[in-house]
Assembly symmetry: C2
Homo-oligomer: 407 residues x 2
Amino acid sequence: MALIVQKFGGSSVANAERVMNVARRIIDTYRQGNQVVVVLSAQGDTTDELIEKAMEISDKPSKREMDMLLSTGEQISIALMAMAIEKLGCKAVSLTGQQAGIYTNSFHTHARIERIDVKRVRDELAAGRIVLVAGFQGVNENGDITTLGRGGSDTTAVALAAALNADLCEIYTDVDGIYTADPRIVPNARKLKDISYDEMLELASLGARVMHNRSVELAMKYNVNLVVRSSLNGHEGTLIKEEAEMEKTMIKGVAYDKDIARISILSVRDVPGIAFKIFKLLADADINVDIIIQSIGRGDTKDISFTIARSQLTEAVDLINKNLDYIGAEGVNFAHDVAKVSIVGAGMANHPGVAAAMFEALAKEDINIHMISTSEIKISCLIHKDETEKAVKAIHEQFGLGEAGEE
Amino acid sequence: MALIVQKFGGSSVANAERVMNVARRIIDTYRQGNQVVVVLSAQGDTTDELIEKAMEISDKPSKREMDMLLSTGEQISIALMAMAIEKLGCKAVSLTGQQAGIYTNSFHTHARIERIDVKRVRDELAAGRIVLVAGFQGVNENGDITTLGRGGSDTTAVALAAALNADLCEIYTDVDGIYTADPRIVPNARKLKDISYDEMLELASLGARVMHNRSVELAMKYNVNLVVRSSLNGHEGTLIKEEAEMEKTMIKGVAYDKDIARISILSVRDVPGIAFKIFKLLADADINVDIIIQSIGRGDTKDISFTIARSQLTEAVDLINKNLDYIGAEGVNFAHDVAKVSIVGAGMANHPGVAAAMFEALAKEDINIHMISTSEIKISCLIHKDETEKAVKAIHEQFGLGEAGEE
């Protein structure tokens, strides 16, 4: 008998019909002889509706009260799912984050799980019940309700799987699994059978929006076997695990991100401490920096460029302009019409030809590269936004990642 | 510094504008130097919408899961109210039933409060916060969420007032207070300045739908000073307390109830144990009996009549018909076109003229009396439903209860 944790997102439980469909799928897993713990998100637009209610009252509601408000969404989902499962003849019980023993720190709206007391969940499983846990929420040591922020329900599922030492954690979503590239851009993109945590982390941070990195990191830390699969069909999905089969497919996939902007700070003095000044300023303003490139100093100055989320561009440029003297820079320029395309794969660093092949693919399409950044398992190029699709297709083709060109 | 518990119903917090209005009223009380605990119901139709969601999934959802579902309604209200109060510049904190320490037994959907651990509420008050408590809900010893059933939020308010030894418990509703008769029927009905718990209990059970009896009983048991007043204006309301001013106004008011039906069981044998058989049958079927009249036996048979809620008439008649042999009765008849009019007032039993005056009022209007039932502090008459308004007006006039005829 295996213990399986399943997570279903908000669109999977958006109405009564979908709730019943998911209930049948859960029961299938249960009737195959497994113990089943299910983590649910709030139904469809519920969270947005609750946020709107709050905004009608205050443009800056306290975070504690937002958590009190928003946590009701998941609570509604678990109650309805328990009813659906019972209606179909199986025993079920719904548990809030608190009842499931999910203890977090007190950072309301973006709390971190500190520990999970699994006694209640274990007792309910032992009693033959399917256990439905409200995702996205926990409780701090004062008994106050907290929420986990972005990717919260995935995090709940992975954390529960880790704490319960589950055999498998299945993340049901609206895609079939992890692909070698966005299938909307590359029609012959291939679904990966498996991928390593590291590679998944890079793909996610590079724009593949299947799972939030936080839950992948947690899975890696506790060695939880994760499967990403579709709630709409019975397809197999992609297994995310410690080590994918070594060296079988070096390049795992092509990712892109259009929601970024590039900022360059010009002619800063080439002395120690400048980068610290710049990025401390940005960090204090809660602006997340992605790629950073620093040119080699020429004379006694150098340029520093970096990318950030496009939504933070104005704020970041204002901040830097105000602090040009403090930083000791001549000026700042920026571009909002950029995109990042990346390839990801373990062992890339040991194959010098990989980077060259990627640049070749872009060159053949006459795509100019603005910035380059590499790591152990990824290479990213900043290009003009309008050329994103062309670039992704070219790179995908170059590495023979498609169905026809399987290695 | 007084400690005041206030309770606002669902219509008082139905939308953002009303939430802000109630927030201002709460802050007024706080700024007058009081500690304030506020109990809230779910917004407007929220509870009905949640019930509908459940019904789309199961026609008989488990009670535990219904409680899990419905308790979210009050949780939304308290979070929004906390935001509103904070927006207006005061400190506030919302607490679920569990966080407020409200422990109940495990009878889901109609749980009873067993104890309240007020530590958290006291701590929050001491920190200068206005405390918003979700009405209608608590938690059992397993940490499962329970709801209190009908009149639940009033019960939460009174129980909290008792546990906190509050100076006052204000129930805000859509009426100004307790009137000598329904103002829609008797335009010159007078608002009572005060009324005793006993009298309020009789008025409520006789059809005055201002407060649920359960919360009045609780207030009486713990000697909580209750005030019923309107959330729509600043009027004074009616104080419900241990002893109203003795003998000032003997008759407190006229009440009526049209949602009843009369059943008569004919020619049962005049031997011991018959009434037990009948009312045990009804109790086992969860049918609440109100007035019971048993005629004096003539020969070796007697008739037994009683009233019940009209919604249970069919069920009750079917049940009795099936058990005629067991009961030993000849037949059953019933009437659904009846209503009950009653007068309530302490000391009535010592004034023999009161009953006569009530019957005189009905006689003058040519209203036939089907059944009569009396107690220490009330007299009820069963009449034809169509004559209810006429009867209430006549009785109100007879006892000079109106504004003009104040004693």
